[in-house]
């Protein structure tokens, strides 16, 4: 008697589950090689590691400005006791959330304010306008507002003189409260190109912390200002 042809037909469910398991294993392998992450917070962790600032907590999450046309991207302001970080993450369908760098401020030094500057663009080159942010932490409750003087210096002259191109002001009513501290992140639109000459100048940031009467309590120098940039491609 001829035996019936035996053919093992794997169930569709088993096949689907097996392929899904393979996909998840590849995803985990990609994550192991730091190749993209399932959640944006994991991408921020990578930025933390790149700058070695330690684990931070989210203060604020922002959507990127529409003019950058970034698709699925997020900006984060995060902090820990010693550092303030502003970072960009972007979602790619196969890779997941990928970090795109950021800017940070070392807050370990005891000071009334800690201010940083961050520029974000698509390609990161001179012709790419991008957007500019200022961010910071206010540790002194007496500070009611901050004026950030964006300055330029002409290296054609010997003296170290900084000329104010424009001022970006931010006040307490626009700040975010968290655990007894106050934070801000603001986009500004200053055109410094008239002052910028590739060979002779670049931008410098001096931040004046003001009390309720407008008196300057403290000035953070440019050297203390964290400068960062991100190119999201």
């Amino acid at each position: 008697m001829k035996k019936a042809k035996e053919q093992t037909i794997p169930t569709r469910k088993r096949k689907a589950l097996r392929r899904t398991a393979v996909f998840l294993a590849l995803l985990a392998l990609g994550g192991l090689f730091s190749y993209g992450r399932a959640f944006p917070a994991r991408a921020v962790r990578y930025t933390e590691e790149t700058y070695n600032i330690g684990r931070t907590q989210v203060v604020k999450r922002l959507l990127p400005p529409k003019e950058l046309k970034l698709g699925t991207a997020l900006f984060y302001l995060t902090e820990n006791e010693h550092a303030l970080l502003v970072s960009a993450v972007r979602f790619y369908p196969l890779y997941g959330w990928v970090d795109a760098g950021g800017g940070f401020v070392d807050c370990a030094k005891d000071a009334p304010i800690h201010v940083g500057a961050w520029s974000v663009s698509r390609m990161g080159n001179e012709n790419d306008k991008g957007v500019q942010y200022l961010f910071g932490r206010i540790d002194d409750p007496a500070v009611s507002s901050i004026n950030v003087r964006v300055c330029w210096r002409d290296f054609n002259v010997e003296e170290e003189v900084y000329n104010t191109a424009f001022i970006v002001a931010t006040a307490a009513e626009d700040w975010t409260q968290k655990d007894g501290k106050r934070y801000f992140v603001c986009q500004y639109d200053g055109d410094w190109k008239p002052f910028q000459d590739t060979y002779h100048s670049s931008m410098y940031y001096f931040s004046d912390a003001l009390d309720a009467e407008g008196r300057v309590l403290y000035t953070q120098s440019h050297e203390e200002t964290g400068i960062g940039s991100s190119a999201l491609g």
Binding site: Q7, K13, A16, L26, L29, S34, Y51, H82, A83, A108
Partner: protein, 247 residues
């Protein structure tokens, strides 16, 4: 109704079966029909009549097809194909991203043989020796692994060159890109010093740096490599082996 017609009518009810699945079902049905036909042939039927009779007694092909159709739900097919497509794309992207493997290699190399990982720049000096000093700095490890000494003609002062690297404590983690940039150097006699120059490089797996032209004195017993940022501090006192140099 012959064997072929029977199978065609059964398969017509399989709405979501793939070509492979339908071929497998057909093969199984044909196998059953042939088994029955074989028995009938032995009982005296000719082959064609036996096959036709065997197909008839299999049952109603539409009912059989309807019952089999439930074993091929569309949802699992979609999941299976989507997983397959994404797996292929992900595998291709992983394979083509050789930099990830290179980063892992750099991370391992910085742990096991940092001198081999130093690809740009080298320690200079008339006397070069290996050291192994490490400090945990946040998520990273700062490691000093080589020092070069040159004694000036006055016999009392010299120049040091030091090689260092940093890597993440997790071998798969990202090395800090700025840690080494923010190291400073001190000696007992000179206080905080600025190197005359330096060179280095690296990637996400590990960062390397060679600091050159650090002024030292014969009375200095060590050169300190220091880091102080984000509340993390480190100080590695690298011994200056003047005796070894002069022997």
């Amino acid at each position: 109704m012959d064997e072929r017609e029977f199978c065609d009518r059964v398969l017509a009810r399989l709405r979501h079966a793939t070509r492979t699945e339908k071929a497998a079902v057909r093969a199984e049905l044909e196998g059953h029909i042939e088994d029955r036909a074989e028995a009938l042939t032995k009982a005296g039927y000719d082959h064609e009549a036996a096959m036709a009779r065997a197909a008839e007694v299999m049952g109603n092909p539409e009912e059989i097809g309807g019952a089999l159709d439930k074993q091929y739900p569309l949802g699992w097919l979609i999941l299976s194909r989507v997983s397959l497509i994404f797996s292929i794309l992900l595998a291709v992207s992983l394979v083509t991203s050789l930099h990830s493997v290179a980063e892992l290699r750099d991370s391992v190399e910085a742990r096991t043989n940092p001198a081999a990982g130093l690809r740009s720049g080298s320690v200079t000096g008339t006397y070069i020796y290996s050291v192994d000093l490490r400090a945990d700095v946040g998520n990273d490890v700062l490691r000093v692994f080589q020092l070069g000494l040159t004694l000036r003609p006055d016999g009392q002062t010299g120049v040091a060159s030091v090689a260092l690297c940093n890597y993440d404590q997790n071998v798969f983690g990202a090395a800090s890109q700025i840690l080494i940039d923010n190291t400073t150097y001190e000696t007992e006699s000179g206080g905080e010093l600025m190197p005359a120059g330096g060179s280095g490089g690296g990637g996400s797996g590990a960062q390397y740096w060679v600091a050159d032209g650090i002024d030292v004195s014969r009375t200095d017993e060590y050169l300190a490599v220091c880091y102080d940022r984000f509340g993390e501090t480190a100080r590695l006192e690298v011994p200056l082996d003047w005796e070894g140099m002069l022997s």
